[in-house]
Structure formats: C-alpha cells, structure tokens
C-alpha cells in the first residue's frame, strides 16, 4: 500500500551520556536507505535534558533530529515510550522506522506498529531497498538461525529493529549540519497501564560481555563451576569476558547474564573462543557475528567447526591448560 509517508526515521536510544552504538548503526543503515530513496534521514531522541545529543545524531548522518525533551520520559517506561513514539511517527510520517533490537526496541516496535496499523520485523541483519518496488527488504534470522527470511511490509511506516553490530555506523563527521525540531511529549495518562517499581542492575564483575573484544565461552561439556573457573583464567589473561551457551546457565554453573545465544546476549567480539560448545543454531545466533571464532571440541563433526576459523579436536580438559600456558608465554614475550 503506497502512502504519502516519506523519509527514514531512526529512534536513537541514549545510554551512558551518548547515543547508543546500535542507534549509530541504525543511522548508518538509515543514511544508506534514505540516499537510495532520495529522501531525508531523521533521528528521534527521547529523554530529559537530551537536546545535547541532537548534534551527535547529525554527526552520524541525520538531516533532521526530533527531540522530545521532557521529565516524564526521563526513564524508560514501555507504555509511555510507545505512546510518545506513536505520536512522533504520526507527526513525522516516515516511510521507514528503524530501532535497535534492544530491551526497549523489541517491545516498542511491535506495539507501535499495531497502533499505526502497520507491521514491524524484529532483529534484522540486513536492510535494503528493492530496486523495482522501492519497498524495504528486511532480512532476519528465522528457525533459530538455521535460515534467513526476507520480508516486505506492505504498509507504511515499514518498521524494523536491527541486530547489534549487523550494520555499520558512519564515522562521525563534526562538520555535518542538520535541523533540530522539538516536539512535545503529549503523554496520555490512560496509556499508562504498568508501573516500574524497581530497577535492579545485576552487574557481572569485570568487562561486560557485550563490550569485550575477546570472549571465552563454555558449553555443556565444561560440566561444573570449577570448569568455568579455568575458562575465567583464560578470559582474564586476555582481558576478555566469560560467556556460556544455555546449558551451563540452566545448571547454574555461571550466571544467566553470561548466556550467549538467541535467548541470551547477541555479541560480536573480535575473537570468540568456544570451548566444549557444539554450536547449536540457537547459540550461533548469538555469536556468529564474531570476527574470528576459535573452537575446542572433541567432536570433529560438531557444528561449531563450520563457523570456526581455527580449531582443535580434543578434550578441553587437556587442551585448555596447555593453551592457556602457551598464550601466557606468548603474551609475555
């Protein structure tokens, strides 16, 4: 269904005093799509005292930044954010809306899509414009990563969330110019159905897995808390983070926050060392974006070796101590 909607709008989440990397990636792909359509790229920012981030969005490629600066949207509350973004979309009338597949994006996108009588596709790894129809081709993993599907939404705005690190951000360009437009929050009190009474951070000690450039991850075969201590030694040596597939988390050998996979974290480190991990599709969905995968597994036919660049076929209990020892020596020299 063609509409008079035009342009690409990217919802930019703010975290730790800057536009989140995934929002910069959204602006990067958004710029590409907008150029291909010959249309404008807009950024949308919500929060309290967030006007200063508009320039960042412009440096990352936005032509126009819509800012909702209001104490009522200081902290994330799904009902409020869905309602504010729904109103913003009605005002901006974009043809395409992009968000990160974050805690917020994964719930805002479908809810907002329903209210705008359109559809969303979540967790896209590729976005492109069909050269004939000019519609958005949205590619996302399905069947736990065994396959990928390309969807086309027939209504506007075409809403997509993108997977972290699947698309590239532009180098920020401080000389870029853009327009900043303030829009009111217009919160409808009736929209508020749930109340967040407490926000609890369960921080893991050391480097956060999603920020680490090296991740050492263990699977079912590690077998115990003690086993993970050995992996931790290697991770610490390389200033990396510790991860796991689902079974070790289910068995409480390691906290749930370390889980890599479709139901856990989706990460894209430079190096991913998979120890005793078979490489189920669910797990690979979380780490296949790594630049280099190194696998240690006793089964030569294990799926992980189809993704790995380097590997050892052997028992991790014998391989790991010698590997850690040798790396220690190499890194000291």
């Amino acid at each position: 269904m063609m509409s008079d909607n035009t342009g690409v709008a990217v919802y930019c989440e703010i975290k730790d005093d800057k536009i989140m990397p995934i929002a910069a990636e959204g602006l990067g792909v958004g710029r590409k799509l907008a150029d291909s359509l010959g249309q404008e790229l807009a950024a949308v920012i919500l929060g309290s005292g967030v006007g200063t981030y508009a320039q960042q969005a412009i440096e990352y490629g936005a032509d126009k930044v819509y800012v909702v600066d209001d104490a009522q949207v200081k902290e994330y509350q799904p009902d409020v954010y869905v309602s504010v973004l729904e109103n913003a979309a009605k005002k901006i009338k974009p043809q395409i809306v992009i968000m990160g597949q974050t805690d917020a994006g994964r719930e805002i996108a479908p809810r907002m899509a329903y209210r705008l009588e359109t559809a969303a596709i979540l967790d896209c790894v590729d976005l492109d414009i069909d050269s004939d129809t000019k519609r958005l081709l949205q590619t996302k993993p399905v069947y736990g990563g065994n396959a990928q599907a390309v969807f086309v939404n027939e209504t506007d705005p075409q809403i997509a969330t993108i997977r972290t690190k699947a698309m590239e951000a532009l180098e920020p360009d401080a000389s870029r110019k853009g327009e900043v437009v303030n829009i009111p929050a217009e919160i409808d009190a009736a929209a508020l159905k749930t109340k967040i009474v407490q926000r609890v951070a369960e921080e893991v000690a050391g480097i956060k897995i999603e920020d680490a450039s090296i991740v050492v991850s263990g699977g079912r075969g590690i077998g115990s808390v003690e086993g993970f201590k050995q992996l931790e030694e290697l991770a610490t040596l390389m200033k990396g983070a510790l991860g796991a597939s689902r079974p070790p988390c289910d068995n409480n050998w390691i906290p749930e926050t370390a889980q890599v996979g479709l139901t856990g974290k989706i990460i894209a480190p430079d190096v991913y060392i998979a120890v005793a991990i078979s490489g189920s599709s669910q797990h690979m969905s979380g780490c296949s974006g790594a630049k280099t995968i190194v696998a240690i597994n006793k089964d030569k036919e294990a799926n992980i070796f189809r993704y790995a660049r380097y590997g050892v076929v052997g028992d991790w209990k014998k391989v790991l101590p010698a590997f850690t020892e040798k790396l220690k020596e190499l890194m000291a020299s």
Partner: protein, 261 residues
C-alpha cells in the same frame, strides 16, 4: 486465577542442524525425519502458568493455532498439568502473518472470556518473530509485560520481574494482563505418567475461523519474499599435533602468528 497460554506446534528446533531443509518453491522449512514438538519457548509459558496455578489455584487453558496438529504433541501441556485445550485448527489460520495470527488468537481469547492472565513464549522457535504476545495485548487493550522471569499475584495485583540486559525491572500491573515469558523463569517440568493419563481423557475443543468471527479477508501486512539458508563454508584450520597438549600449543602459535590475539 484463570490463565490462557498460547503455544505453537513447531518443527523440532533441537534436531541436528544437518536435518534442516528448505523447500524454496514453497518458502517452507522442514526438519527431515524429526517429528514436530511443542515450541520450547511456549513450554516456559506453560511452566509459568503451572507455578501460578500452584500458588493461586484456577484453571489453565492452552490455545494452539495451526494445521495438522498432532494430538500427542499438542496435549503435552495438558500432561504437564494444564486443564483445557482449545485448537484453532484450519488451513485459513496458516496463511497469514504475525498480525493475522495475533488477530485470530485475540478473537479466540475474547470468545473464551473469563481470563485473568494471558501468557505467551518470548517468541516462537520457528519464526523468531517475538510479536504475538505484544500484539494480543494491543488488540485487547490490556497491560503488557515483555520477557518475564517471575510472576506473583497478590490482591489482584501483578508483580512481575522483567528481564533486561543489565538485570531486571520489577513491574506492577492490574489484571487482566498479557505477559511473555523468558527462559529465565526456570526449566519446564516433565509430564508425569499420571499427567499423561489425565491428558488422554481431555478432548480438545476445536474452533474454525467462523467460530471466532474471523473475517476471511483479515488484513495481511507482511509478505515473505524469500527464505534461504546462509552458507557457512567449513574453512576451519585445525591445529595438528600428536597429543592434545601439542595441538593446544600449536593453536596458540597459530593465533599469535595470524595476529588474531
């Protein structure tokens, strides 16, 4: 406390990746030789419902939508301890997209009526869409909590722990509400022999599109353009050696020489 749990019959996501095949002509996938199962993500929702029933009493109604629903598969939640089974079984239910799925389920939930909570898995293991529960909440105008790991009900107020990247939020809401369940809720229980025997005696209620007042021209907003399997070339370079220790040393050397580490 009356709970409706929406689950799905899917191709077995735990089957070996090698048995996964795509029929490109029909844009359909198949696990060769592996029978379908109840969606594992949906089983977490069933488990959450059973724990709520243990704490607060009430009934659990399972709703499954699809076609060629194998009775021994869709009865698993009953064997786990649920009370009733409603099947939305018709070819027409399979032709749509995420929206038409949510629309049909919302109509069926309305027809069923008398519910306090609607639970769904966080996503389905086949489509990985992650939208059905959220969409049902929007259609029915209910409170919506995504990715719960713990649910408590006291004085008809919900208290839910909602998982996020850095920990969790504690959320309060009135009833009725829609909650999607994350795997952190805990492992789904196995059916007991007693449960399996009881499930055998429960006849599913079957609803067709007409029964729930579904418009045959329900709007479909998303088209599947293409379904394909990404190729992973097996280019793994194996570290050799006579012993595992030797292989380990060679692996470390390889990583250093290639400047990987």
């Amino acid at each position: 406390m009356n709970i409706i749990v929406c689950v799905k019959q899917v191709i077995d996501p735990e089957a070996p990746p090698a048995s996964f095949k795509i029929d490109t002509e029909h844009n359909k996938a198949d696990m060769h030789g592996a029978p379908p199962v109840i969606d594992p993500y949906g089983e977490y929702a069933v488990e959450a419902a059973l724990r709520l029933k243990e704490a607060n009493g009430g009934t659990i109604t399972i709703m499954v939508m699809g076609v060629n629903l194998l009775r021994e598969v869709v009865k698993k939640p009953l064997a786990m301890g649920a009370d009733e089974l409603i099947l939305l079984e018709d070819e027409a239910f399979t032709k749509g997209d995420g929206w038409s799925t949510a629309q049909a389920l919302a109509l069926a939930i309305k027809k069923k009526g008398d519910y306090d909570l609607i639970l769904c898995g966080r996503e389905a293991s086949d489509t990985n869409a992650g939208q059905t529960g959220l969409a049902i909440a929007e259609i029915l105008g209910l409170s919506c909590i995504n990715l719960a790991r713990k649910i408590e009900v006291a004085d008809s107020t919900l208290k839910v722990e909602r998982v996020n990247l850095s920990g969790y939020d504690v959320i309060e809401s009135s009833l009725p509400a829609v909650i999607t369940i994350s795997n952190e809720v805990g492992e789904p229980r196995y059916p007991t022999i007693k449960g399996i025997m009881a499930a055998k005696k429960i006849e599913p209620v079957i609803w067709k599109p007409n029964d729930i007042g579904l418009d045959a021209h329900a709007s479909v907003k998303t088209k599947l353009h293409r379904l394909f399997q990404p190729v992973h070339e097996g280019k793994c370079e194996f570290a050799e050696g006579d012993t595992e220790e030797e292989m380990a040393v060679n692996l470390a050397n390889k990583l250093r020489e290639s400047k990987t580490i």
